[in-house]
Point group: C2
C-alpha cells in the first residue's frame, strides 16, 4: 500500500528505471511509444514523485520562506495571502514565520530557513532591525532575498515598497486642504524606515505650506497598538498647543487616539481632524469613520513573490540578476474624520 516508485513502474513494464524517469520528463532520447506507455502506467499506478528524493537529487526544495513581523495583522496577513496564492500558481510552497518585531527572533527565523534549505526568502524586517548580518549570511550561500514593506535600504537585493515619504506628504497635505493649520504627528518607531519616511513627508508638507514645524507636536509610538494611540492622545490633550489635526502613522493607533479623544469630549472632525495610514477594515466602521491612506498589501505579496520567482529562475540559469526596487501606488481615502 506504499507509494508507487519509478522502480515499480519499471518492473511492471519490464524496462529500466532510467527510461521511466526520462519518459516521464519527456526526454528526446526515448521513443514516443515508450513515453506513452510509461505515462499511462504512471497514471494507472497513481505515481507521485517522492519529494524527498527529488529535493536531494536536485538540491532544491521548491519552497520559500516568508518572514513577517506579525501574523495577526490585517496588512501582513493580506500580504501572506498574496504570496501563498502566487506561489501555488508556480508550484512553490511557502513557510510562514513571524519575527514578533524582534531582531533576535528574526535572526533565528532566517537561520531556520537556511537550515531548512529553502530556495529563497521574502522578508519584511522587524522595526528594530538595523544590522543585516543575518541576511548577508543567507546571501553568502547564494540564497536570493526579496524585501518588502519594511526594508533595509542598504541591503543589496530587490525591494517592493510604497513611497512612504510621498504618502506621508499627501496625508498631511490632505489635512491642510481640509483647513488644519496646526498639525501634530503620531510617528512610529525610530528605527522603522516606513515611519522615518512618513515623518519626513509630514515635515515636507508643513514646510511647503509654510506651517510651523514644532518638534513637541510629534508624538512617538514605540509600537503599533490601540493602547499607544490612547496614551499619546492623552499626552496631546495635556499639552494641546492648539493642535487641530493629527497625521497618525497607523490606523490602529489612530483608532486608539479617536477613542480616547471622544472620551474626553473632543469632537472629530470639528475640534481635531485625524488621518491614519493603511486603510484597515475597522477604519471604515468606527465612528467617526477614519480617513486614511490606502496601501496595497495583497498585490504587494503577489509582486514580491513574482520578483523572487524570476530571480530564482535566473539564478538557476546562472544568469546575472539585476536588483530592482518596485514602488506601488498609495491613495488617500477621505472619510468623516477629516470632513472639511
Amino acid at each position: 500500500m506504499s507509494r508507487t516508485t519509478l522502480q515499480q513502474i519499471a518492473l511492471s513494464l519490464d524496462i529500466s528505471v532510467t527510461t521511466v524517469s526520462k519518459a516521464l520528463r519527456s526526454y528526446p532520447d526515448v521513443s514516443k511509444k515508450t513515453i506513452e506507455k510509461v505515462k499511462a502506467a504512471a497514471e494507472l499506478l497513481n505515481y507521485k514523485p517522492n519529494t524527498f528524493a527529488v529535493n536531494l537529487r536536485t538540491q532544491e526544495s521548491k519552497t520559500i520562506g516568508l518572514v513577517i513581523p506579525e501574523i495577526v495583522h490585517q496588512f501582513f496577513s493580506s500580504v501572506v495571502k498574496g504570496v501563498i496564492e502566487e506561489a501555488e500558481k508556480n508550484g512553490y510552497t511557502v513557510i510562514v514565520l513571524q519575527s514578533s518585531q524582534n531582531t533576535e527572533i528574526e535572526k533565528k527565523r532566517i537561520e531556520f530557513l537556511i537550515n531548512k534549505q529553502v530556495d529563497g526568502i521574502l522578508i519584511a524586517l522587524a522595526d528594530d532591525t538595523v544590522e543585516y548580518y543575518h541576511l548577508f549570511e543567507a546571501q553568502a550561500i547564494d540564497l536570493p532575498i526579496v524585501m518588502f514593506d519594511k526594508i533595509g535600504k542598504t541591503v543589496p537585493c530587490s525591494k517592493v515598497i510604497i513611497d512612504d515619504l510621498r504618502a506621508g506628504y499627501e496625508a498631511t497635505k490632505h489635512l491642510i486642504d481640509c483647513g488644519c493649520t496646526k498639525i501634530a504627528h503620531f510617528r512610529g518607531p525610530l528605527t522603522s524606515q516606513n515611519s522615518i519616511d512618513r515623518y519626513h513627508g509630514y515635515k515636507k508638507a508643513l514646510e511647503e505650506y509654510n506651517l510651523e514645524f514644532d518638534e513637541s507636536n510629534v508624538y512617538h509610538c514605540k509600537e503599533m497598538s490601540f493602547e499607544i494611540g490612547k496614551e499619546n492622545a492623552r499626552k496631546l490633550l495635556n499639552h494641546r498647543n492648539g493642535v487641530d489635526g493629527i497625521f497618525v502613522n497607523t490606523d490602529m493607533i489612530a483608532v486608539g487616539a479617536i477613542t480616547e479623544l471622544k472620551e474626553h469630549g473632543i469632537n472629530i472632525p470639528e475640534d481635531i481632524r485625524i488621518i491614519g495610514f493603511g486603510n484597515w477594515f475597522l477604519s471604515s466602521v468606527i465612528t467617526p469613520s477614519l480617513s486614511t491612506v490606502e496601501q496595497p498589501s495583497y498585490t504587494m505579496g503577489k509582486i514580491a513573490f513574482n520578483t523572487l520567482f524570476s530571480e530564482l529562475n535566473k539564478h538557476k540559469e546562472n544568469q546575472h540578476v539585476e536588483h530592482e526596487t518596485i514602488i506601488l501606488p498609495t491613495e488617500i481615502i477621505a472619510r468623516e474624520s477629516t470632513l472639511a
Copy 2:
C-alpha cells in the same frame, strides 16, 4: 564554500562517516572521546544536517500542513499564530494553505499536502464541505489529521472545538437576561456545523425561557461578511415583527448589521439589542461597542498542534492512537450593544 557534510567531518578526523553520524547522535557504541572530537569538529565546520537527505532517509519531513478557510481573518490568523509557535518549539515546520471556503479548493490543498509528504494535517473545513473523501484518502495512507473549529462530526479523528450549542444558548440567554422578548437570529451557512449548533443553542434558549420561536425571525447569511450583515438588517427592518434583540452568528456580520440599523435611525441597545460571536478586536471599538462571545483562537491553535504532535509521536512508536475531542471554554463579553 558548500555546506559541510558528514563526509567532510569524517575526512578531517580520519574516521568513517558512520562513526561521525553516530557520534553526533550520541550512540552508545561510540566512545566519549570520539563523540567529543566529532561534535567539536562539527561545531568548527559549522555542520548542519542536509534536510533533504534526512527526509529521504527517515521518510519524514518534520512538516505539517495547516488548511484554513481564510487567512485574512482575525480568528484564523490567530490560530495560525498559535500553531506556528507551538510547531517551532517542537522542531516542526508548517505549511499554511487556504481553501477560500470552497470544497473543491480544499481537496486540492489536501492533495498538495499529500504530495509534499507532510507528516500530518491540521484543518478547519470549508463551510460547504459535506463529504470527506479527500480526508479519508489522507488517512488511508496513514496521515494523521486533527480538525479544529470547523469539523466534520463523522470523521474519525481528534478534534479541538468550542461548544457552539452551549455558546449559542448562553448568548441568547444573555439577551433574555437583558430584557429582550422577541429575539431574532442571523445564522450562518446551512452546512456549517458551527452555525447549525449555534442555531440550536438559540432555539434551546428560547424554549427554555418560554419565548416563541418564529422561523421568520431567523435570517440566513451565506457568507460571513459586513455586507451580508447590512443586507439582513435591511430585511429585518422591512419585516420587523417586534424584534428587540438579535443574536448574530459572527462579529463581522453584527458590525454590518449595527451600521445599517444606525443608518435607519434605530437606537442600539434601546430599540434593539445585539450580541455577536468571536470577540474580534473591532467589536470593542465600534459605536456602540458590541457584546459578543469570546472564543479562544490562539490557544485553539496551540492545542490543535499539540494533539497532532502527540499523535505523530504515538504513530512513530506504532502505538494505538485514541481520538479525543477537546472542548475549549467560551465566555460572554457584555458591552454597550446589550446594556440593560
